[in-house]
């Protein structure tokens, strides 16, 4: 037996794609049995969401699990939360576990705030006594005192989220398993959640945290585990794993990986993303020179004329801070995208980007409709200082997310009257 609160031993999880249980009907089963038909299970339909994952979590340590979508993070959390079972391997857990895969699980719109706190608390594993003891604290934390006896269907979404998080935040487990709860709510609320999580982590409790929010990971966790295709790539000190992950997993290097990722996008009846290129002087680049304009070229196909269809990109820094967003279409009016193959090119002027790595998030959507790329494509590229070199202070690169070269005027000041 181990003294680790969580020990994961060779955990694997297999999903059968296609041959899903729920797609059979009683009628089919009866007719198959009668006609002695057998349904084949081809091995191509097997998907290993996790493969031989092993690691320990030390007592009082906050561990982040990072990786791209589909890397197996959520599956691992589900197994840890005992929602689904591993296909093989095992996990030993010592201590009371609370998992927060979502806040507000079991909340019911018709019930009042008070009733929902009681219900949600019970669902999350609090006893009635514990709920009673912490009730006032929960309500105060959520700042909904005045509305506690109002059905939550009349709550604003902010109030709802605050109340839901407040219940979760007042669990006192020895081991806390958290999934992306922080991805909701406004900035002030997120900051509050982060503070509370920090509190939990610094009170000697063991935390397992899945997130895409890299600054939060670095701030909250001491160690990180990087998962890729269901396997552990590396594990260690959070800051260095985050750096490794960002540099490696989404690098623009290798056109193949972009093509591969585009090919993996599920088919949409209206739209297909065909290519993403970064061009400088008509050449594909991986390392961008800030002294030259950068063209971001998005190739896509529209299958039928669609009102409001547009592609866009967001520029982010590695800390996930949005620098700006650019939409190719639809500023003046909601434009109509005609069927056909198109290439949309955005030009980022020379002497605009700073010499630092950026992330590019590419998406497509129908205005007032749906996202066409539910998982935006994420790429990183690095910018090299080639433009105006500061001769007065060589080697100095301006701080900030952008380094635009602005037009300055200098005139002698005239005495005002």
């Amino acid at each position: 037996m181990s003294e680790f609160p969580v020990r994961i031993e060779n955990v694997s999880k297999l999903y059968r794609i296609g041959a899903k249980l729920d797609q059979r009907t009683f009628r089919e089963t009866v007719s198959d049995t009668v006609l002695l038909r057998r349904r084949d299970r081809s091995p191509e339909r097997d998907l290993w969401a996790l493969r031989d994952v092993s690691f320990d979590v030390r007592h009082g340590e906050a561990t982040a699990i990072i990786g791209q979508n589909g890397a197996g993070k959520s599956t691992l959390l589900k197994i840890l939360s005992r929602i689904t079972e591993p296909t093989s391997g095992r996990i030993l857990v010592r201590g009371r576990v609370s998992s927060l895969l979502e806040v507000g699980t079991g909340f019911h719109n018709e019930l009042t705030g008070r009733e929902n706190v009681q219900l949600n608390g019970a669902i999350l594993g609090m006893t009635r006594r514990e709920i009673k003891q912490r009730f006032d604290e929960i309500v105060a934390f959520a700042e909904v005192e005045r509305f506690i006896d109002t059905p939550v269907k009349y709550y604003s979404s902010g109030m709802y989220m605050r109340l839901a998080f407040a219940v979760a935040a007042h669990l006192e487990p020895e081991i806390l398993v958290v999934d992306e709860v922080l991805a909701v709510g406004d900035a002030a609320f997120q900051a509050k959640c982060l503070r509370k999580m920090n509190d939990v982590a610094s009170h000697g409790r063991t935390v397992l945290f899945v997130s895409h929010n890299m600054p939060a990971v670095k701030a909250l966790c001491q160690t990180a585990v990087w998962l890729k295709n269901g396997q552990v790539v590396s594990r260690g000190d959070a800051a260095s794993i985050v750096t490794q992950y960002l540099q490696h997993s989404s690098s623009f290097a290798g056109r193949d990986s972009v093509a591969e990722r585009l090919a993996a996008i599920p088919a949409d009846p209206a739209f297909r993303m065909e290519s993403i290129r970064l061009l400088q002087g008509r050449r594909d680049v991986e390392l961008v020179a800030n002294g030259e304009p950068l063209e971001i070229e998005l190739g896509f196909e529209v299958f039928r004329e669609t009102l409001g269809l547009h592609v866009f990109f967001r520029l982010l820094d590695l800390e996930e801070t949005l620098v700006f967003e650019a939409v190719h279409n639809g500023h003046e009016t909601v434009a109509r995208a005609e069927a056909g193959r198109w290439i949309a090119t955005a030009v980022i002027p020379a002497n605009f980007l700073a010499a630092r790595p950026y992330q590019l998030l590419i998406g497509a959507a129908i205005a007032n409709g749906r996202e066409l790329l539910p998982d935006p494509i994420r790429l990183t590229f690095d910018v090299q200082q080639t433009g105006l070199v500061d001769r007065a202070f060589p080697g100095y690169s301006p701080p900030g997310q952008l380094a635009p070269l602005l037009e300055w005027r200098l005139e002698p000041a005239r005495a005002t009257q």
């Binding site: 093989s88 030993l92 895969l101 979502e102």
Partner: protein, 275 residues
């Protein structure tokens, strides 16, 4: 450290019964699930709690008119509305418990994919909610007794609970088995309300067992709900309770609970993956 519980998460065996110790640890959650269902239902309707009274009462009025007045079915010398209500009361419980119970798992996807708890609590809570409704509706017996100036038999004190325990066990067994089956075979959910309706008329509710010719009675009694309803009614109106029928129903109930929970436990391992 030695006192801390150790949980081992691994692929579990396909053949397991219910872990009663764990269910006991989660009893508060069961309580809250029932509490939620009862509260929500009575909040959503303007009629509120009276809904539990109106449902069997309206049923009684319709049946009393059609079968009592029009068809003039004999009711063992008891006012027909009272006779019908005494049969409808346990049947409404049974029918609600089984119909809602069989849908309970597929309707709880949100809970199943987000938190851990013994899955058996889901059909159990639905059956309990139906039981709460039964108790509320049972209160209606009192004004009916007063109205018809009827003094119930003393056997009511032990006969009613006995009949209800068997009924509860049978409804639970069926709900557990069906809630798993419906996850597996989605088309079954359309069949269940239909089957329940036919079942109602196959059970001596609107008529008394005594109108069935003696040589067919064994067939009616194969239906475990027949002796249950009969026992329920006899303990109010008097007359011998057929113990053999009740024992048969109890045996079927126990077998169903056992087989149903083994099947349920086998299937619950994939609930979160398929719902």
């Amino acid at each position: 450290m030695a006192e801390e519980p150790l949980i081992v998460i691994q692929h579990s065996s396909a053949w397991r019964g219910i872990d009663f110790r764990e269910v006991w640890r989660y009893r508060e959650m069961l309580y809250f699930l029932v509490w939620r269902d009862v509260k929500v239902r009575y909040k959503q309707t303007t009629l509120g709690i009276t809904w539990a009274l109106i449902q069997p009462l309206l049923g009684m009025i319709v049946l009393a008119f059609v079968f009592g007045r029009v068809a003039k079915l004999p009711s063992e010398g008891i006012p027909y509305p009272l006779f019908a209500f005494a049969g409808l009361l346990p049947w409404t419980f049974f029918s609600n418990a089984v119909t809602n119970g069989s849908m309970s798992v597929i309707n709880s996807g949100n809970l199943l994919t987000k938190v851990y708890f013994p899955r058996i609590l889901i059909p159990a809570a639905t059956v309990m909610t139906a039981l709460v409704d039964f108790f509320i509706a049972a209160v209606m017996l009192l004004p009916l007794f007063l109205y018809y100036r009827f003094v119930p038999d003393v056997r009511l004190i032990y006969g009613l609970p006995l009949a209800m325990v068997v009924c509860l066990a049978f409804a639970s067994g069926l709900s557990i088995a069906l809630s798993g089956l419906v996850v597996r075979y989605r088309d079954l959910r359309h069949a269940i309300p239909f089957v329940m309706q036919i079942w109602m008329f196959a059970t001596p509710i609107v008529y008394s067992l005594s109108v069935v010719p003696t040589k067919y009675r064994w067939m009616v009694n194969l239906n475990p709900m027949a002796p249950v309803i009969e026992a329920f009614r006899r303990s109010i109106f008097g007359g011998a309770i057929a113990t053999s029928g009740l024992v048969w129903a109890a045996v079927v109930a126990v077998v169903l609970i056992f087989a149903g929970s083994v099947y349920f436990r086998r299937l619950e391992r994939v609930f979160a993956d398929v719902i």
